[in-house]
Symmetry: C2
Subunit: 408 residues, 2 copies
């Protein structure tokens, strides 16, 4: 059996943990297996930019280091396959499979990557190819359907919640009124912003307000909520999704119209917190600051969740077993068995059920006022941020795996 | 002997480590000592907002937890004492000292706080008071004179350098040209921005360009440096101080004129990276993004430097010994003995030598092109980020000390 692996979409801290799981699974199966990686996702398959992973990862030490390296060791792409199988891309991809005698192709990615998995497995069926195509989920957005949650989300959730707690300590030191607005990633799904609620503890009630894209953002309500809170609290901390929209469905963010769209047509949102900052400044005339957590929420390995990384690796190794059983056209998924103790099963779901769909926060997990999440939501989120990985450090910084093959 | 401690200025992750050192020193001296904390810096002394620290910190466990709690357990202020001793503030402060039978007052802070220490010790001399006034330095800016470096800087340096490394991994995954501009705190001193150079390793050469406030920023040179680099590298990462200025001394940042100034008249700078982002976008028309590290660089305890926290605590406990010896009007300081192995002595310097002065990066540590730092600078910085504190976690988040006394 020969294996080919690629990664696609936006990075997370857990996507290399999945890759390490797949490689480990492949290596364990038999010493004669060939394990290849395509550089820059499906583009690497199209361009035959393919490297040998087998020889690189025979040492257990380097697989462990891969697990704790952020972003994507194999690089990424935003390449959308044509809907028509007439497109010559399909022929090119399966010719590459043939040339390298590939039996199984693993694609680690989010919604858009599952679209690729869905199309490739459909095409394989059409041409009666035996190549098994398996998707392995990842996304900090947690917006994939048919899985309890996605690898990468737990680490991002741990980052945003612990960062809000740090920001609370930073904020409460001054004896004056202030409003701090923290912008979290999430275009249509507010999962990551919801996770900021985990920052609350016996002394810290912040974030005081949480705004998700799932419910329309009402400026007047927002300002009056802050005004009301200020009657009993000096420092207000607000967590807001970059993707909040008004009742007409227009983004609140400053610059969505002028910026570029990616290969899948998604607008790049930025400056939502800045817009709210100037609203509050104008309306309430107090100290206001906005903080955009930016790419740190998806790349800060030192604040990753052990639960998340371990699950990501497990999904990867189970994907290999699944492929060896002859399964194709599926995405590996997490099925939660219980919250306390937290236990999960790794299962498979038809990738056609997942591709191009989006799972948002259920409306019943958002409070009636639309500015907080419920306890049920918090109970769902809490197990995902547990545990801290033991990173190796060198000269004061995490010792990550060399990615010079990605640096032109 | 009775002791009073207060904290002032902007927060760091190490300022509570200094506080824990002072408290430990006070408690060790004798069980009969009273140890008090003033809430919100010198304002707490003026308003008699004073708490008993003795009973709170008799357990070693809570002192350890204090050491690993970010920001300021006693709160902060931005209060500038009048230059004239006729101001009734001085009389009020020393009446509070008398009321609580204070023998030693410790003030943990930066340049402005050392101004307060200088004035108070001058006033004590004038009125022939025996109260010893001792300053303990802190600032992520590393801009205090007469000390090798300042507590808080090492942790911030570790945060910015490891974050640049994470951002590099996040950036190199795409096979397209891109420029990422990372904005680092530092109004006049570029120390923290210089520390981003520590992110470089055997495979990562970024940040590719480093701009400090110490040398004038030339837009044309900046753009042509990027253009030149792009001939041989796809993804460029730039580290820039928020405080960079043009040849006429005007800040490059977007909004310094319209924003408020603090009690010491310092302008709040913001949006420098955004300004550069739009420059590059216009001139080079490639993918550009800006990232402002914001307050995370001074509050992320999970990425703190053990060397920094341990030194901060040592400065605190040594301050107590110093006070007991009868010394007053000094700031505790670090004197480096050697780089490899890294060894330091804790010494005292007259606070009048420190107050209202600023130590910037020596021009000979900046490369002639003005867009990088020298190896000598890197050798100075490297020992300061070594080691990782072992934090206690609870429910997936760091377990910090309760600060409900600061939350109104």
């Amino acid at each position: 059996m020969n294996f080919l692996i690629a990664q696609s979409g936006g990075p997370t801290t857990a996507i290399n943990a999945s890759l390490s799981g797949v490689i480990q699974g492949c290596l364990e199966h038999s010493k004669d297996n060939k394990v290849y990686g395509a550089i820059n996702g499906i583009e690497g398959v199209l361009n035959k930019n393919i490297i040998d992973l087998h020889s690189k990862f025979t040492e257990e030490k380097s697989l462990e280091q891969l697990k704790y390296t952020p972003a994507m060791f194999l690089g990424s792409c935003r390449y959308k396959l044509d809907t028509s199988y007439e497109s010559k891309d399909y022929d090119t991809i399966f010719k590459t499979f043939e040339e390298y005698s590939i039996d199984c192709f693993f694609y680690i990615g989010g919604n858009d990557s599952m679209d690729t998995v869905n199309k490739l497995s459909g095409y394989a069926k059409e041409i009666q190819s035996d190549v098994r195509i398996i998707g392995i989920p990842k996304t900090i957005d947690n917006d994939l359907v048919a899985t309890d949650h996605t690898p990468g989300f737990g680490s991002a959730a741990k980052f945003v919640s612990s960062t809000i707690l740090d920001i609370a300590h930073d904020t409460y030191i001054y004896n004056c009124n202030s409003v701090t607005i923290v912008e979290i990633m999430g275009r249509n799904a507010g999962w990551l912003t919801a996770a900021t609620a985990l920052a609350r503890n016996s002394y810290n009630g912040s974030p005081d307000l949480i705004y998700l894209p799932e419910v329309p953002f009402e400026t007047y309500q927002f300002l009056s909520s802050i005004k009301e809170l200020m009657k009993r609290k000096k420092n207000i901390i607000v967590a807001v999704s970059e993707g909040i929209k008004d009742a007409n469905g227009n983004y609140i963010c400053a610059s969505q119209t002028s910026t570029a769209r990616d290969g899948f047509g998604h607008a790049k949102l930025t400056g939502t917190a800045k817009v709210l900052e100037s609203m509050v400044q104008t309306a309430l005339n107090c100290k206001v600051r906005s903080i955009e957590l930016n790419v740190l929420q998806r790349s800060s390995m030192q604040v990753a969740s052990k639960t998340d990384l371990d699950e990501a690796a497990l999904l990867g190794s189970t994907a290999v077993t699944t492929a060896l059983e002859g399964t194709t056209g599926v995405m590996m998924a997490v099925k939660r068995q219980s919250n306390a103790p937290y236990t999960v099963d790794i299962v498979t779901v038809p990738v056609s059920d997942v591709a191009n769909k989006e799972k948002t926060v259920p409306l019943e997990w958002i409070t009636p006022a639309g500015n907080d999440v419920t306890d049920e939501c918090i109970n769902y989120l809490k197990p995902l941020i547990q545990g801290e990985p033991q990173l190796i450090y060198e000269d004061g910084l995490p010792s990550y795996l060399d990615i010079s093959h990605l640096i032109a």
